[in-house]
Amino acid sequence: MQFCRCSILLFLVFIGPVAPLFSQTKHTISGHIRDAQSGETLIGASIRLGADPAVGARTNNYGFYSLTLPAGSYTLVVSHVGYRTLEIPVELAADTAADIELHSGELLQEVVISQSAADGQVKSPQMGLTRVDMNEIKHVPVLMGEKDVLKTIQLLPGVLSGGEGSSNFFVRGGAGDQNLILLDEAMVYNASHLFGFFSTFNSDAIKDVKLYKGGMPAQYGGRLASVLDITMLDGNKKSFGAEGGIGLIASRLKVDGPIVEDRGSFVVTGRRTYADLFLKLSSDESVRNSRLYFYDLNAKANYRLDERNTLYLSGYFGRDLMGYSGLFGFDWGNATGTLRWNRVWNSRWFSNTTAVYSNFNYNVNIESDDLNFVIASRIQNYNLKQDFQFFATNKSTWRFGFNLLHQGISPARIDADEQTSVNSLRLEDRAGLELAAYLSHEWKPTPQLSVIYGLRLANFVLLGPGTFYGYDNEGDVVDTRIYEKGEVAQHYLNLEPRLSLSYQLQADNSLKLSYNRNAQYLHQLTNATASLPTDTWVMSSNNIKPQLADQVALGYYQNFNNDRYAFSVESYYKYMENQIDYRNAADLQANEYIEAELLYGVGRAYGVELYLKKQQGRLNGWLSYALAKSERQFDDINDGNWFPARQDRTHDLSAVAMYQLSPRWNVSATFVYSTGNAVTFPSGKYTVDGRTLWYYTERNGYRMPDYHRLDIGATWESAASKRFQTSWTFGIYNAYNRKNAYIIDFRENEANPNITEAYRIALFGIIPSITWNFKF
């Protein structure tokens, strides 16, 4: 009865004091683990005892580790995926500071490639976490050759693609707005460019990607389904470098180097599409003057003030611009800024203070002979985070902190000039304050059992000034309340327990169990299949209760063949409360009474996810399969019966293979197959005023056709020894030209309007791509 015992312990630890350390003198070895060539800190690198691999530590998000051991002499084994494993003899007689550098390993010399990540799934107590290896992303073939983090995570089990031409993703039956997307701790409100064809994350700027599908640690909160935690590169601390690429639709450039050698570095990456340059070839002047492009700019700098203090400043700025001269213009984008202060208090205490600003806005300009107005909307936040890590013993690490988040929404503003036949309008701004405190403990009570448990307490306050309406069941206003600035219009308090537990059965297999409760106070409203920059954001209010999710998951992890293969199976059940749907033909744009358009219900999602990964050798890759169900129930929809969520896909399969053909050539292929989305199709028709209308009976009672696609890619790299390295990436998207239905719609036949027909629109046929990359 391991579980019972554990829950008692869990209780004791929460109320009791930290157990004192006993007898034997213990010392701590601590420091940072870095890449030897660039000085880049390594996240999640492992440091273990050679004699007893069960004893060890991993670096945190800033590359810091702390390992407390009885005095004595040891051999420490330091390893990280893609790096040569290092063995360090240590005589531990006092607290020791030791910064360690690892050399990256050649892919073909598989012996030296670390297994630290390879057995990570089996050994780590964290459940539901997947790390994306940035080296793998390089080889996974993608649309137009633009390697893309968001597209790659969609190949993992339990993560569904938002569909062709969408960066949106759905985790374990959740909605698109239930994913918390963080870039250097800053919330990214809209992660797509060009309505979703590309994501806002330029892979060149990214060091580490973590995706939590469940059992999220207590420091994360605010979204139901997942946490995607993306860390930007720090920049080369030792020498200047540049790399970039020229692709079919975009060019990229990255420059990095030391500010002061070994103390600080910077990195700047930029990307811009140039599809619009072709517009210049048009003979039509207004086409020539049209705009259609996006760009991203990532910049980061860090500076080590002294042995204990390091500052990081990072920012992201990206924008999409489109416009047709003389008619309309449309631009949108995110801007984020993060300032962080790392402090190593002593060998066992680490703290991080973060101040974040994040903003998303859009502008629409309409001009014509007699119309001239601007529509603007914005959402932004200021976020202050304080996080402490206490490495108590090599079996126990505490983490706690608080988080103060101020969020403001300007839902819609229309500025029109006097001559225009449109009225200026300004919907009231909304502001909310979320104060959260958390405590979490990673603990290894026995050599087999390890556990991360924690609590998050979040207090959400919707602030005045503003007019707040109450509605009846029909959506009519029954109550109007006016609050002054600073007054509390609504208040919610949620306690979110989190647990992730691992029981090591043998050296190469383990069982895990997790539970998490998450609350969400920010909601994105859309009644369309595609998510658009103009989707409206609302905060929880007197009408909109916080969304809540409870998820339990159980998993089995097994490595084979000396960690050459990693296999896992996870099953989960998730129950969601206060889910949002819409009244028929809901008006979600610039609507003062928008909350009258909402309906509230519950959801449930459950499934099994299988994952088999080959992580060593010339052939790498993975197979992932999920069998899942996601359903919703609303009193006013589908006669109150449960219906499948749109993203309910019974089967979802991805296969990814990368093969190192020769030192120069790497070939790869990706195959995806999934059940079609649940959709609403008509089950009859009728005429009104000579027009044929469709008769709908059941919500999401039909299925889109199954989706499948094969992409292939190949990369040629010049010799690694050269100072100036180049590579070519070739790709073929949708290699067998499958016409996957993007839309199925119904219409009257052109020749005979009495006959009705279904038609299909497929977005992408076979699309080749080529990219040239350089690095020096």
């Binding site: 309505f195 036949s421 609403t680 009728y686 005023d689 000579g690 009976t697």
Partner: protein
């Protein structure tokens, strides 16, 4: 916002999307009663049609319902009895009045279906003409009408037109959410019809009530990108689809310049 169209447009920009007609197996739902009733200020004959929904692949979409008792009563206590002229089409002779409240009652197989509609005051355009704009190198002509929207009250409009000898065709409905009290210029276009100089066009502008607007707005805002298409709200409650609209209409002829 026609998101899906926008995305297809973008994909079209990369010249990659394609379209074809496919076969889909759709269920045949139990037939449902459809009631469509109108009262106009311009006509001396008012009409109510009763039909049932049919399966998607049936080539005759109008399945008439006969033998109903149909009446409309106004706010002054007058009741107009409708007679079934052709199967499913019921008519009565009276002329609608602005600001009058009308109640439609349909009795069928022991069930009574009722709906109420109040005819809004007539708002007429004070000018009509041809406009031209250039979109992606192609000239597109449209009919432009101008009218003063009354301030301080919600107004709903429905536009129809007939081009040359074609059928009268509904274009769309609008509301004054963003231009209450303004002098409004409405550009009428129909993506299926290219206007050329010399075409004769008759425009009908109807002032409709909110319920009729909600009905048509639900129809026109359902597009291939709608996450959950549904039947437009019925004024008759559960058991019958359709709508009842008392509208004030004006008609304007013009010739495309």
């Amino acid at each position: 916002m026609k998101q899906a169209y926008l995305i297809i447009l973008i994909a079209g920009f990369f010249s990659v999307s394609c379209e074809d007609v496919i076969d889909i197996n759709l269920n045949d739902a139990d037939p449902q009663l459809v009631i469509v009733g109108t009262v106009s200020n311009r006509s001396y004959e008012q009409r109510v049609t009763l039909s049932r929904t049919v399966a998607f692949d049936v080539s005759e979409p109008f399945d008439p319902v006969s033998g109903a008792t149909v009446t409309v009563s106004d706010g002054r206590g007058q009741t107009f009895q409708f007679v079934e002229r052709t199967p499913g089409v019921y008519v009565a002779n009276f002329r609608g009045r602005e600001r009058e409240r009308y109640e439609l009652s349909v009795q069928l197989e022991g069930q009574v279906y009722t709906a109420i509609s109040t005819m809004p005051p007539l708002i007429t355009a004070d000018s009509i003409g041809t406009g031209v704009r250039t979109l992606f190198g192609e000239e597109q002509k449209f009919i432009s009408i101008r009218y003063a929207d009354p301030a301080g009250m919600p107004n709903y409009y429905r536009y129809l037109w007939r081009v040359n000898n074609g059928a009268m065709k509904m274009l769309y409905v609008t509301q004054d959410k963003f231009n209450d009290g303004r002098y409004v210029s409405e550009d009428l276009v129909d993506f299926d019809t290219d206007l050329v100089a010399g075409d004769s066009v008759v425009v009908r502008m109807q002032c409709i009530d909110k319920a009729a607007f909600d009905f048509w707005n639900a129809v026109q805002s359902t597009n291939p990108g709608t996450a959950a298409p549904a039947n437009p709200p019925s004024m008759f409650g559960a058991g019958a689809l359709g709508y009842f609209s008392a509208y004030a209409e004006s008609e304007m002829p013009t010739e495309v310049q």
